[in-house]
Chain length 228, copies 2
């Protein structure tokens, strides 16, 4: 992703331009079906799939969820989601460090879009590349596990600048860690001029998910209001 | 890093070819000075900088260390290393998801190579991109924090296939986690046909670093023997 010379810059611009057009097409496609699409991004192992599993349990059919899973290899994550009775498409990207709009478009064509209210797209575990590729989503959610340290928003500014919602995950581990102050982490997000809401969750304390579910429901209501 | 068409494939091959040539040049340059160079890679927040800080303390001058730090933004990590009295060069990559051989070459020219035995290169926190770019190092070390889950070697195979040494970090947290079995994680590394040694460390238990320091010392002795 590094433009090393004028030729590369030209090609990279071309790739991003084509991706943006495809992403806009995806967004229109999703819009026609009244679907809210969320792009969930984080480092490897921050708890994206666990959050999705627990979201499905917590929503309990009040709205209909589908999931697109992005990984370099393995079908593991899609299988975990399907075990919850929710449609899930696994995209394996091989060497590619992020999902792109074409991959998501292909996945959309394997789903019954009339049976989905909220599409949750779990991007490849990576705090760098996914932030630069529009998929056609309506909102970006950046997860940050408290085990990663409170300095990460400063060190990965593109990701945390792009986030419409930031979720600090694994907060049950705060007691046993000494390098995560939620106030400091929030300070680093604010230093990027990002006013996004910040939530705190733990997969071990299902009650911590309520504000996240409420956020999703508000976004879904707003999305539908915008269609009228 | 995704080859989207024949033209992009051609350009990507060109970039990697140029990088490989520069990496070979770096390796010769390091070799002439008898330096062992290690490329340290992991997800964000797996404890790379903490490992380096504690390595400097544990080595205590028995051999001379220098550090190259890779981050998208901030000088924080190089400052942490300099506070230990060791030379450190910070490379800020901006949007780029990995170090490359040209960046490392430029950094080498700011260091006194006659005063270094072991050069530790901390790559950008990312389990995908850094694995594909040779920097001129003699060995790759992949750190995996136990907080990330034991499935990561299966999900990020290029990284864990490229590792000459795998280090499970933050093992003091194993007691409070339920998704990391060291045996399972090791099984995933072996499934990639990688026979690399696997160590377990905790920044909170300095005694756990002894096998890592011994590994570095063995590599340094081997490197010097190879020069003769």
């Amino acid at each position: 992703m590094r433009p090393v010379d004028a030729k590369s810059i030209h090609i990279l611009t071309g790739i991003l331009g084509a991706n943006d057009r495809q992403a806009e097409h995806n967004r229109e496609h999703l819009g026609r079906h009244g679907i809210l699409a969320i792009n969930l991004m984080s480092s490897p192992g921050s708890g994206k799939t666990s959050l999705l599993e627990q979201t499905i349990d917590a929503v309990g059919g009040r709205f209909r969820i589908a999931v697109i899973e992005g990984d370099l290899e393995t079908e593991n994550d899609a299988e975990r989601i399907r075990a919850k009775g929710v449609p899930a498409v696994q995209i394996t990207t091989g060497q590619t460090c992020h999902l792109d709009a074409v991959m998501v478009h292909d996945a959309l064509h394997t789903l019954n879009l009339d049976a989905i209210d909220v599409l949750l797209i779990e991007n490849v575990g990576n705090l760098v590349c996914p932030a630069s590729f529009d998929l056609g989503q309506h909102a970006n959610v950046a997860l940050l596990s408290v085990t990663e340290g409170d300095d990460k928003p400063a060190k990965y500014p593109t990701m945390f600048r792009a986030a419409d919602l930031v979720v600090f995950s694994k907060i049950d581990l705060l007691d046993v860690l000494d390098d995560f102050s939620p106030a400091k982490a929030e300070g680093h997000v604010r230093a990027l001029a990002n006013p996004a809401e910040i939530l705190r969750t733990s997969a071990r304390r299902p009650e911590t998910l309520a504000p996240w579910i409420a956020w999703l429901e508000r976004r879904l209501v707003d999305r539908r209001a915008a269609r009228r």
